[in-house]
Structures are given as C-alpha cells and as structure tokens.
C-alpha cells in the first residue's frame, strides 16, 4: 500500500513480462486483502485490480487499452508457472483471499481466459498444486458444477489426461486426498457431461480410463462424493459471496451405472452404429462403481465422528428429481426396443433391462434408507410405476410406499 496505483503501473511497465505478472499478482492480492477486511469500498478496487490483471498478468491489453498481441505458448507457460508459484506461496490473507484473487483472475465474464484456466488446472493437477486445485474447486462450486464454465473445464481436463496422454493419469491417483472438493465437483461436472442424453443414444459412455480412475477414486474414498457438502463454504468465500447449492456426483454417476447395460445391449443389437471405439460389452467397472457409490451412500449414513458435517446436509445428497431423470431414458429405450425383431437380441435386451432396473431399485432402496433423498419423493414413485415389472423394484416400491 506504500505506492499509489499510478506509480505501480509505471513500475510494472518498466518490468519485463514474467516478472511484471508476479508483481501485479502480489498487488492484486494486497487489494483483495484490504477489500476482504472491509476497509475500502469494493467497486473502485475491483476495477483497478481488473485493469492490472488484464494489462500485466494476462497481457491482453496494452497501456492505451487496445488489444495486444497474444502471449505465445511459451510465455503462457511462464505465466502458468508464475500463477502456480503465486498461489502456493500466498499465505497473507488465507483461503478467502486466495479464492478472491482466483475469482478475479478468472471471472465468468472473461470467457477467453478459460483456455488458460484449463491449462492452469491441468498443470496444477500434474504438479499437485493443492492451493490452485482448492481454489478451482471453489470456483466451480460458485459458478455451478453443471454450468457451462465447469463443463468446459472438465472437458479440457478430460481431454488432457484421459484422451491425449492417458499415461499421465497415474499422477491423478491421489487427487481426492489432495483436493477432495475439487475432485467432487469435477466428478459432478464429468457425470453431467457424459450423462447428457443425445438423440440416438441414451447415454454416451466415458473413456475407459476415466471410468477406471473414477471407480478407483470412489471406492478408495467413500466420502469423496460428499466432499462438496462437507466444506463450509462460507468460510472460504470472500465477504458477501453466496455459493450455489452444492450438487453431489451421486445422481450423475448412478445414471451411468444404470443406463450402461441398456446402452451396450442396444449397441450390439443395432449394427449400423460403428462400434470401433467403444467396447461392445459392458465394462465390469460399472458394477464396481455402482457398488462403490452405494457403499459411500451407506458410509455417510453412519458418519464417522471425525467429520464435521451436519446431519442435515448429509440427508440432502440426492435430489429426487435427478433420480427421476434416470427413468425417462429407460422408458424411451423401451419404446425403441419394441422394434427389435431378433429373438436373441430380445432376450439380451430383457436381461439388460432387468439389470438396469435392479440397479435402480438398489439405488432407491439405499438412498431412501439412508435418508439421502430430498425433494418430491411421491412424484418419484409415481414415475417408477411407469417402468416395467421388476421384482426387486416392486419390493422397494411396496416397502416405501407405505411409509
């Protein structure tokens, strides 16, 4: 605070690229700290910090405010390095300030910075830069895990780690331990990303590596899916910040597991869809994932005393609406299935359907028993009536209807 903003700008202009970014970041952090304490009014500071970020961190504009030549890739890498270093080392204002800085660096208004954000998160994942990942987790949650920004980020990460360089995945094994909130939010986004129902398909399967890693994560860390709920957001957020309601990855991942058998059986029966890139049979990973998810639901019903989560939040794991959303593709699949002529395909379809319904029934049973479901449960039941006859499902319905 010893130097005025104009002086600072002057100094920054004299400084070469990577260093000016470093200095600028420090300055922004300072401003955020003062803001967080509430000493200065926000608006003006926000403007100034935005200017500085734009001009000296991302070098998007020059001194006259006009557009500058973009940083080349190596400079970008340098910037990423600086950013990583900055977040690792910034301890002045604690988590709230860090998140604030992060928010101002990547506000939803600057969509062109999302490319850099993806790179930053990707790099942080490989280098296990916990502060950055944590801040990202917050960022996702604030903007909404299923929002476009989060989905873009998730998409970029998946492309980096699971499509382009599958070998780098090994570096992600301990991500849930390092940044559980980020991981949980990432899972929610990914589940949403692949759960989106396309026209012909009822379900777009994720890459095998991704599925494998997720299964491992969930089975190794039963509390992972609840991570988003367990953090006290209010502490981490800057003054006056309002977080979005957290969404757990449960519903999305359950949807994968339930729809997967149907998807694979319809893929084998209709030959016109090329089956070159995905295995034609269902991966056993789905059932493992299913089991892990159910276990983690049970886990949070009997919370270990070490966790500081409230019972109230634990009961709001899964929205009844989200479960109901799984039913609709199944019904649609049933309509399509009537066109199947082949006898053997029909039998296989029957088996797959019952497996899907069994899994659905299991999910409902466990969710209801653990009181994880919130929302209009009656509506859910009425929707379940539409499904074909299944013994397990019937039992579950009969059991809980009466309650």
């Amino acid at each position: 605070m010893s130097i005025s903003n104009s002086e600072l700008k002057h100094i920054l202009k004299e400084t070469e690229f990577p260093f000016c970014a470093r200095i600028a970041l420090g300055r922004v952090e300072e401003m955020c700290t003062t803001q967080n304490i509430g000493r200065t009014s926000g608006a003006k500071h926000v403007d100034i910090s935005m200017e500085i970020i734009s001009e000296f961190v991302f070098c998007e504009v020059d001194r006259r405010g006009s557009r500058k030549r973009r940083l080349n890739c190596i400079q970008e890498l340098q910037l990423l390095e600086v950013l990583c270093d900055f977040f690792t080392s910034s301890v002045i204002g604690g988590e709230a300030v860090r998140n604030m800085v992060f928010m101002s660096l990547f506000p939803p208004t600057h969509s062109d910075r999302s490319r850099l954000l993806i790179k930053l998160v990707s790099m942080a994942s490989s280098t296990k830069n916990v502060p950055v990942l944590t801040a990202t987790g917050m960022w996702m949650q604030k903007l909404g895990c299923t929002s476009k920004y989060s989905l873009d980020l998730a998409q970029g990460l998946v492309k980096d780690y699971f499509v382009l360089i599958p070998k780098a995945v090994s570096g992600l094994q301990d991500l849930p331990q390092l940044a559980p909130q980020f991981t949980a939010n990432f899972l929610t986004a990914v589940a949403e990303m692949y759960g989106v129902v396309e026209k012909r398909h009822i379900f777009s399967p994720p890459p095998d590596t991704l599925l494998e890693v997720i299964t491992q994560w969930v089975s190794d860390n039963p509390t992972l899916c609840l991570a988003a709920l367990m953090v006290n957001l209010q502490l981490a957020l800057p003054l006056g910040g309002v977080p979005m309601a957290a969404i757990t990855p449960f519903a999305g991942l359950f949807k994968w597991c339930i729809l997967a058998p149907l998807h694979y059986v319809s893929q084998t029966s209709t030959s016109d869809i090329p089956t070159s890139d995905c295995n034609s049979s269902e991966s056993p990973l789905y059932s493992r994932l299913h089991l892990a998810l159910l276990e983690s639901l049970l886990e949070c019903y009997a919370p270990s005393p070490g966790l500081h989560c409230a019972d109230a939040s634990a009961t709001e794991n899964i929205s009844a609406q989200h479960i109901a959303a799984i039913i609709e593709p199944i019904v649609r699949w049933l309509k399509d299935r009537t066109r199947m002529e082949n006898e053997s395909a029909r039998i296989r379809g029957e088996l797959a359907l019952h497996m899907a319904l069994d899994r659905l029934a299991q999910v409902i049973q466990v969710a209801l028993v653990t009181h994880s479901v919130y929302g209009n449960i009656q509506e859910l039941f009425s929707q379940l009536e539409m499904l074909p006859e299944n013994r397990l499902l019937q039992i579950v319905i009969n059991t809980h209807r009466n309650l």
Partner: protein
C-alpha cells in the same frame, strides 16, 4: 521454489523442475544443452498436458533452426563432412520428436491428429515461406526444384511425414477440416507452400482433389459474387494445387470436375441451404478455374464438354443470369467463354456443333417450342458467342504472321475437320457460312484443310448455294482480299488456283475410289463432281462472277487435265463420261480467252485425244439417241479443236478411231460381221455339276450317257451366243457418226487462228489428214508391209499375192465400214491413190471370182455388188477417168466372161500402165484437187474392150454408149 505445499511428493517436484528447466531454456534465459533441453521438452510433453502448446511451439524453433542451418549450409556450400558435428544433435532431437509425435498420433489418432497436423502444416507453411528464395532455389523455381530441396532436408521431410500420417488417419473421418486446414495454410503461404500440397495431394489424390474442389467452390460462392471474382482468395491455390496434381492424377481431376458439373445441374433437393447456394456458383467456378489454368481447361474440355447437349442449354440458360454476376456482366462472361473456347485443345468441333445447333436448331424436336422466350435467348446468345468466336480467331490470325500463331481450338478443329465439312452442305445458311468462315480461317494455316474441304464440296455440292459456298471458301481466304499490290494479288490468285486444282485432284481421286466401290460409306454420285465443275466453268465463262474473273476454275481444271482425261478413258458410265467430256470441252475449247497463253503439252494433248476417242465409242454404243448425238457433237468439237492445234493428236485420234471401229469390239457397232463367238457364259454354272447331272446311272463306255458337255472347266458348258447383229439403221447411223468424227479430226482448224471456222459444223478438211486416213487404212487392212506401193503389177503377179488379196477381200466383206471409209477417202482426191494396194487386191480377187463364175456360167449378185462398189470407188477417186468411170453401170448387163474381160482390160491394164499417183491430180483455184479429164483420156487400147462389149450388148446399153462414146465429131471438137 517454494516449499510451502502441504503435501508434495517427489514426482511433482521433478515435474516442476523439468518445467522450469524447459521454460528457462525455451526463453533463452539460461544457456542449456539443446539436446538436453529437447529431451526435457519431450518428457514435459509426455507428462504435463498443459505444456503441450508451449512444447510444440518450442519444437517450431528447433525445426526452424535445423532448416536454417540446412539452408545456410547449402548456401555457403560447405564441405559435407564439416557440417556433421553441428547438425548431429539437431538431427537426433528431430528424430526423437518424430518418434514421440508419431506415437501420439498412432495411439489416439482422433484426438492427436488434428493437433499435430495443424501444427505441422503451419510450421511447414512458415518454414517454406521464410526460406523461399534461399538455398540457390530462386523464387520463380518450379515445384519440382522446391520439392527436391525440401525433401532432402531432414527436418522438413520429417514434418511432411508427420503430416501425411496425421492426414491418413483423418482422411476417413474428418476430410473437410483436413483439407480446409491444408487450403488455409496454402492460401496464407502461397505459393511457397505448394510443394506440401502437391506432396500430400499425391498421397491422397482422389480425396484431395474432390475436397479441394468443394472447398474452392464454397469459397468462390461466398466471395465470388462480388464484382471481381478474383477476390476469392482460395481460387488461385485451388488452381495451383490441381495444376500440380494434374501431372500424375489427371483422370481423377477429370472425373472430379465432371461429377461437380453434373451435380450442379441436378435439381435442387432442398437438402441444405448451403449446398443449394453453391449450385449456381458451380459453373462460374469451373469457368474461372479453366480460365486460370490451361490444364484444367483441358480437363474440362475433355469430359464436361462431351456431356453438353443442345437439349441441356435451356436449362443452363435459366441459370445463366445468375452466372453473370460472378464476372461482372454478361459481356465479360461471353468474353471469358470465347477465350476459353479458343484455348480448348480438344472438342473444338463439339463446341462448334453445340453453338450451331443452339443458334439455329435443325431439329426442332430437341428444343421444343413451348418455352419460346428461353429458346430465343439461347439462340441469340449462341449466335453472339459464335460470331465473337469467329471474329476473335480472325483477329488473332490477321495480327500474327502466318504459321506463327497457334490457336488450340483451331488445331482441335483441324484434327476433326471431317466433322465440320458436312456443315458446308447444310440447308441452314448459318451453318454453311460458319463452316465456310471457319474452314477459310483454318486454310490460312494449312492449305490441306482448304483443299480437302473444297474437294468435299466439289463432290457433294448439289445446289447453287453449295457451289457459292465453295467459291467463297476458295476465294475468301484471309490473304487475298486485303493484299493491295498487283503482285500479291497475282500470287493470291495462283495460290487459290493451286488450291482448287489440288481440291479437284483430291475429289477426282476419291470419286474414282467410290466408282470402284472401295468404301461402303455414303458417297456422292460421281456425276455430281463433274456437274459441279461444269457449272463452275459456265459461271466463269459467263463473266458475271467477279471473283471468278481470273480464270480461276478453268486454270484449276487445266492443272488436272491429265487426270480428267484418264478418268474419261476409263469410265464406263455414258452419263458420267458425258459430264466429264463436257468439263473437258468447257475447259479447253469453250474458253477462248486465254488459250494462246496456255499451251497444252504434247503428252497431255495425246492423252486427251485418246480419251475423247474412247468417249466417242462409248457414245456410239449408247442406246439413247439424244445422248448419242450430244456426245458425238461434243467429240467432234473436241477432236476438231485438238487436232487443229496439234498434228500428233490428230494422227493419234485417227488411228484410234480407225483401229477401234474396225478391229476392236466396237466394230460390231459399225456392222462388222464377226464370227459367232463361242464364249463361256457368265453364269455360275460348273461344268462338273452339269456333267454330273447327265450321268445318274452307271456310265458305260461307248454309250451316249458318257458324252459330256464340252466346256471350260470352272465355267460350265460352252454356249453359242447369238450374234447380236446391229440394226442396219443403227449401223448406218453409227457409220455416219464415225465419218463425222473422222472429218472433224481431219478438219484443218488452220495452223494459226482460224477461230471462226471452228464453230461451223462443216469444216474444211485437210488433205494431209485424209491422206493419213488412207495410209492408215492401208496399214490396217493390208496384212503385209511389202508391195503396198502404188503401182499395179502384171496380172500374172497376182498369183504371188493371192493370199494377201484374199485376206483384204475378206476384211472388206466382213467390215462394211471399210467401204464407207474408202468412199470418204475417195471423196477427197487424191487420197485414194494411197489405197491403191487395197483396190488392187480387190480387183485381183474379183477377177478370179468372175473367172470362176464365167466357167460355171452363173450370175452372182454379191459378186456383182462388190464389183460395182469397187468400180464406184475408183470412179469417185478419179482413178478411172471417163469413160472407164462408168464401168459400174455397164457391168450389171454383161455376162461373166465379158466382165472378166472388161476388168482385165479396162481396169487392171489401165491402172498397171497408169500408176494411180497423186501427181496426176492438180489443184484448182478453189484449192480442190482434180484430175484433168482431158489430159487423162485413156488410150483406145483400154477403152476398146468396153466399146465392143457395149456394142455387143447395145440393146441394154444404148443410151449409156452414146454418152460414153459420143460421135467422133464432138470428140474432135473436144480435143
């Protein structure tokens, strides 16, 4: 580095360290070993996805420096060995990079290939434009040199390899974006990037060509609708790429263009708005492509052109207004089309026919009337284009030296000139005019075209219009009408004459061919040619056509006189012969304007004479009187002309006439009594079969069943042909005609310029010629060369020559024509003197016959008739002076003994003592030869026998006697 991380394993530390090393090295803050740095970069690339772009960018600099080193090394021309140390590590890194990137691509092509291919294409583009013009390869260097330069550089070669690998992965899934990337880079770095496209294109020709075309079209339809179509940036690179690929994948290009064209004509299917928007732009796009590259024009003209038919034109016409926008108006479009058409190396006739058919359709069924406004616009536009095209060719030809200018379209038309030629005969004036103009233009370069076309017309022209076209074709070339000086005009005239002469020759040759029937194709009737030539000649003589005033046609015919004569000699069809003869007549006789300038050489004259004689015999054998008379008149005309100008021709003609009429098959026409010939019949009967028919049973010797047909083996049995004797009327007629012709031959046209006498039907006959006739008669009739002299020997000597005498007599009996010929000769005294030997032989045989008749005391009418004829001849020829000349009147009343006595004393002895010689004759004031009767009065010793015989038979010969032997008083008075 901060150590504040709560949990930090070792690997991330390593990663971070690697990253920092890489960043430091890449930004040149720290001096590092380049190989080490590259290894770090690769490891970062493998482990840190976020650094991917940066690493690739760093690789760019690596490749760049490798290429730069390579280029400078070439430039400084260093020794090969000294460079190895510097480039060693770079090569090694590059190879490593290659391996890593290829692994990435092959492990997950869908994800990696777009990234790597974009990167490598961009890098290649940058490199090739940055080092363009370096390394001893000039900017203007061809593609091959550039290709060689870059392919011999390791860095670029590896890049190309990576690119093709990526593309081959993508080709099946994502062609559009691939080619787009390729084209975009090509646009950005044109023309230095062309070698890459060429290389890639030759790896995937079909895909690249079709995609390049469709990308170009898309671009064109977006940019091209502005005023200048040249704005479409990708067009040039499309052309460049296709041009490069044309070398090895021409067929692919052709089929791709054709597909595109056909696609554009398909009706809109409402499939997608973007596609429909491109359809109308397709044809302008193709035209634009063709205008930019002759190779593509060639490709278009080979395939697309062939699919165009007149029936498609209305459809195209509907689209045309929208095309104009691409070129800035219909004018510009037409200009472009004309220039493109001029550049076509193939299908020239196709273009022409299309235009013509559209401009004035012969067949109205193809372009049906209902949409008349459309068809009218098609018509007018086609006319316009056609006119522009012809004008442009004309202009080009005139503005260059002959032979220097080459218009591909003309060359193409020239190759298919047989397609154009039939247009000359078209009923449509536009077709004819166009063909005439075009052929005239072609003829400017190659006379052969002109000649063959003229020949074509000569043979086939059937109306005046066609002949006009011919005249225009020959006279309306390029060089003549404009050339100012006299000399040039003359040259032009000679040139044209030469042309026409050659054309005539060609026409005759093919005409002869068609007579022989060597070609089954539709050939014009052979008479047509001669009709046409005669027609043209008449036009020329009429003097009404200014363009023919130079004697163009007749000169041309004269050049071909030999061939004409040959044809006349060989032809068998009288009508055809008549036409040919007419042409001959018109050429050499009727044309008086320049015959003094032109002298026919002897050989030719002889040939013509021979031909005319042949024609004469053909005429005579003709049944139709009208044709016969016309022909003979023509012959007379011709022969008179020929023989009056050339003595050799006369002798030849006479000999031919006589020989032909006497001894050859024509003799029958003149009443010759030929022995009935036994000829093998023409029917297809085999002797063997005929003989088989006879003996179905067992053949026994000495039985009549064993008598076979006589015959010629292979020709069936002999049959006696009925001797088709001519009607006596016809014979007389024919003989008269022959005499006419001989007279014509003998006519003295005057040695100089007695042109007036030629026209009169009665020519003064030259005595020399008649003498020739009589000598010829002797030569032909007398079998001997000895004793053919004028003197008559003792009667006893006849015993020596009796054989010959009988032979001669036999001929006289068989060939009544001889008598007529003899009387002709006798008419023109003293020519008969030379036939003395014939008369002698006749008289000798008569003597002998009368002697034998006297012994048998019987009267022979035939003998008497012959005797009368002989005596008449002698009297006519004034060989026997009065009163001996009246012997023939006396003889019929006498007994054979008396006849013998008379002939011996009055004829033989008189002639023995008075050798019949021309010297006895004297020329009077009229130029006629006469024998003075007063001087030649025979002595009593020759007349006494006659006198006493007449006295013995005075009861019959009283009146005659008083005339022959008037009273002495008058005789004394006469003396």
């Amino acid at each position: 580095m901060s150590g504040t991380g709560v949990i930090k394993a070792v690997p991330p530390q390593d990663l971070m360290r690697d990253l920092r090393t890489f960043v430091a090295g890449a930004t040149r803050r720290v001096k590092t070993n380049p190989l080490e740095l590259a290894r770090t970069a690769l490891s970062v690339l493998k482990t840190l996805p976020a650094a991917r772009d940066a690493v690739l960018e760093y690789f760019c600099t690596l490749f760049n420096s490798a290429v730069s080193k390579y280029v400078t090394q070439i430039e400084t021309d260093m020794c090969l060995d000294s460079s190895s140390s510097t480039s060693g590590h770079e090569d090694a890194t590059i190879v490593e990079i290659h391996v890593v990137l290829c692994n990435f691509v092959s492990s997950n092509p869908k994800a990696w290939a777009p990234i790597i291919s974009t990167w490598s294409l961009e890098l290649l583009g940058e490199l090739s434009s940055r080092y363009a013009g370096r390394a001893h390869v000039p900017l203007s260097a061809g593609l091959n040199e550039t290709l060689q330069l870059w392919m011999s550089c390791r860095a670029t070669r590896i890049l190309i390899d990576i690119t093709t690998q990526c593309l081959s992965c993508l080709m099946h899934s994502d062609t559009e974006s691939c080619i787009n990337a390729l084209l975009d880079t090509s646009v950005a770095h044109s023309p230095h990037f062309d070698w890459v496209v060429a290389h890639v294109g030759s790896c995937f020709p079909h895909t690249v060509i079709t995609r390049v075309l469709s990308c170009g079209l898309k671009d064109f339809s977006q940019h091209g609708s502005a005023d200048q179509s040249a704005k479409a940036p990708k067009l040039n690179s499309v052309v460049g790429i296709l041009g490069h690929l044309a070398g090895s994948h021409f067929a692919d290009i052709r089929s791709a263009l054709l597909e595109l064209f056909q696609w554009s004509l398909e009706p809109d299917k409402h499939e997608g708005d973007g596609e429909n928007a491109e359809r109308p732009a397709t044809v302008p796009f193709l035209l634009q492509l063709a205008s930019l590259s002759s190779t593509l024009l060639h490709a278009l003209s080979t395939d697309v052109l062939h699919t165009l038919t007149p029936s498609m034109l209305p459809k195209l016409a509907a689209l045309a207004p929208s095309w104009c926008d691409y070129f800035g108006g219909s004018q510009a479009l037409e200009d472009l089309i004309v220039h493109l058409a001029l550049g076509c190396e193939q299908g020239g006739t196709q273009i022409l026919k299309l235009l013509l058919d559209a401009a004035s359709p012969l067949d109205y069924s193809t372009t049906a009337a209902p949409d008349s406004s459309v068809s009218a616009s098609v018509k007018s536009t086609s006319r316009e284009i056609l006119e522009l095209l012809l004008q442009e060719i004309d202009h080009l030809l005139r503005s260059t030296m002959p032979g220097a200018c080459s218009i591909p379209l003309l060359c193409s038309i020239k190759q298919e000139v047989t397609v154009i030629q039939p247009l000359l005969l078209s009923g449509d004036p536009l077709h004819v005019q166009t063909a005439v103009r075009l052929l005239g233009l072609l003829g400017y370069h190659s006379t052969a075209v002109l000649v063959s076309s003229a020949a074509f017309l000569l043979q086939r022209a059937s109306t005046d219009g066609h002949l006009v076209a011919l005249v225009r074709l020959v006279t309306g070339g390029i060089c003549n009408s404009t050339s100012a000086s006299q000399l040039e005009q003359e040259n032009g005239c000679y040139y044209k004459t030469g042309c026409l002469a050659q054309a005539l020759e060609q026409a005759m040759r093919s005409n002869a061919g068609c007579v022989l029937g060597d070609e089954g194709a539709i050939q014009p009737p052979p008479e047509q040619l001669w009709h046409n030539v005669a027609h043209l000649l008449r036009w020329e003589h009429s003097g009404k056509a200014p363009s023919l005033r130079g004697g163009l046609i007749s000169r041309a015919v004269r050049c071909n006189l030999q061939e004409v004569s040959d044809r006349l000699c060989t032809v068998c069809d009288p009508n055809l012969a008549c036409d040919i003869a007419e042409v001959l007549d018109l050429t050499i006789v009727a044309d008086r304007s320049s015959h003094d300038v032109y002298t026919v050489n002897i050989q030719l004259t002889l040939l013509m004479a021979k031909a005319v004689v042949a024609y004469f015999f053909l005429c005579v054998s003709e049944k139709d009187d009208l044709v016969r008379f016309r022909g003979v008149r023509l012959c007379c005309h011709l022969l008179a002309h020929l023989s009056s100008h050339s003595p050799p021709a006369r002798s030849l003609a006479l000999r031919e006439l006589l020989e032909g009429s006497l001894f050859h098959s024509h003799s029958r026409l003149f009443g010759a009594k030929l022995p009935s010939q036994i000829r093998a019949p023409r029917e297809d009967v085999q002797l063997l079969h005929e003989n088989h028919k006879q003996g179905t049973s067992v053949m026994l010797a000495q039985r009549h069943s064993s008598v076979f047909h006589a015959g010629v083996i292979g020709h069936g049995p002999r049959k006696t042909l009925a001797n088709q004797s001519q009607e006596p009327d016809t014979v007389t007629h024919n003989t008269q005609l022959l005499i006419e012709v001989i007279k014509a031959c003998c006519s003295s046209g005057g040695t100089g310029s007695e042109t007036g006498s030629e026209q009169s039907p009665t020519h003064p006959v030259s005595l020399d010629a008649i003498t020739t006739v009589s000598l010829l008669l002797v030569e032909l009739i007398s079998p001997d060369v000895m004793y053919n002299g004028l003197p008559w020997p003792e009667e006893e000597f006849c015993k020596v020559t009796v054989e010959r005498d009988l032979h001669i007599r036999r001929l006289f009996d068989d060939l009544p024509l001889i008598w007529h010929l003899m009387s002709l000769v006798a008419t023109y005294r003293p020519a008969l003197c030379y036939c003395s030997v014939l008369l002698r032989a006749l008289t000798a045989t008569l003597l002998a016959q009368w002697g034998s008749a006297a012994q048998r005391a019987q009267h022979n009418d035939r003998l008497l008739a012959t005797t009368t004829q002989v005596l008449e001849l002698m009297a006519l020829g004034q060989l026997l002076p009065p009163p001996l000349s009246s012997l023939r009147d006396v003889i019929p009343h006498l007994k054979p003994q008396e006849v013998v006595q008379l002939i011996r004393d009055c004829v033989w002895n008189y002639l023995r003592d008075h050798v019949p010689s021309p010297a006895l004759f004297a020329r009077d004031e009229n130029g006629l030869m006469w024998r003075d009767a007063t001087l030649a009065h025979p002595e009593p010793q020759y007349t006494d026998t006659l006198r006493s015989t007449m006295q013995n038979n005075i009861q019959h010969l009283g009146t005659l006697y008083s005339q022959l032997f008037p009273p002495m008083s008058s005789k004394c008075q006469n003396e």
